[in-house]
Subunit: 219 residues, 2 copies
């Protein structure tokens, strides 16, 4: 049956809940890159034993958010600019595939949902929620592709760069430009213009990389 976003998620076990909490903290930048993640500390914080904490860390390591070295512990994964660039390169390819496949199957349902999310983004001031809405918007456009694996991989990559975005990048000028691009992308999708949509997406995902490179150049 595979993955699939619509899968019935029964109840989560403790490890899943811990992983969710740690993932949020990392993506939001509350846990900084390189910071050590001590099993006992985390276990105490969540009032659980180390067993589910270890499982959560293994999960997050697989997602690229945590680095683990046997017997030496876990840390919040660090990202070099080269890796950020790699991630955006992968994202452009993956999300282009998703768009190409999804656009012919896009229905008013997704369009309306996307528009609703864009309005929420307009009024959102909390950057953490902004990042969540940002991904929710993109995923809405990709979902009709039914390429759930691709979407999951891309979401992980998005989580990995979200920290960079939130810490180094977001100013009002960018946020407005980002929204303009979101709206243009949605227009392209509504028109069924796949090539235009992909071009807009490439532009949209290229901007952050350009700015990161500039930041790097200054140091």
């Amino acid at each position: 049956m595979g993955l699939g976003i619509g899968d019935i998620q029964t109840t989560k076990n403790t490890a899943n809940l811990v992983a969710d909490a740690l993932r949020s903290a990392i993506v939001q930048g509350k846990l900084l890159s390189g910071q050590s993640l001590k099993q006992d500390e985390i276990a105490a914080e969540f009032k659980v034993s180390k067993i589910p904490v270890r499982e959560a860390l293994v999960q997050l390591q697989a997602e690229g958010l945590v680095s683990m070295i046997p017997s030496r512990g876990a840390t919040v994964a660090e990202l070099t600019l080269i890796e950020v660039d790699e991630i955006y390169t992968i994202r452009v390819a993956m999300e282009s595939i998703a768009l190409r496949k999804a656009i012919p199957f896009l229905t008013p349902k997704e369009v309306i949902e996307a528009e609703r999310i864009l309005e929420n983004i307009d009024h959102e001031t909390d950057m953490t929620k902004w990042a969540e809405l940002n991904w929710a918007y993109h995923e809405t456009l990709y979902r009709p592709s039914k390429m759930y694996r691709l979407i999951q991989i891309t979401k992980n990559l998005h989580n990995n760069v979200a920290r960079y975005l939130l810490n180094n990048y977001l100013d009002k000028t960018y946020l407005e430009e980002s929204q303009r691009q979101h709206r243009q992308l949605l227009e392209n999708c509504k028109d069924g213009d796949i090539n235009a949509a992909i071009a807009t997406l490439e532009h949209h995902l290229g901007d952050p990389v350009a700015i990161f490179a500039e930041i790097l150049g200054k140091n």
Copy 2:
């Protein structure tokens, strides 16, 4: 520091070893799709407790090889043909990126290694080892790209379809054709002809999908 194939892997813990063993068994088809993976059984088999077994299962779930439902256990992940198709679509995109980035940095070292692997494939009769060598060949060509995340993701995808390949697909005709394509790809790479290399790769990765679709049509 990130992932990176060259990372110093200190000693592996028990969970890593169990994950390695289970991964091999799944990729080789010794554990069949849908088969349940009981923690106590696996723990007894490897003469360890359930704790590292659970961590191994979480790891393999993240790789897409295992499905887990809380309180109900783990099974070897099943793959629909639609998912196999999705995986090959992603692989073509990812490996094209890797080739494009790698070819300008390809050195005689990788060329010689790739040729050596191809000779080994010629003489390999064990299909399990054939699959390993097959990936080793591809990875050799991608490594100069230094896109270690992309390579890791792609390797996982390869592992996911290897079962299909090994069970439904491999006959002498295909193996010979596959090797012809491998050698053509290597020539394209040596020539520095990126577009030709990508075209060969697309053809190489398209063949299995076509055959799978044919199998599906019969059922």
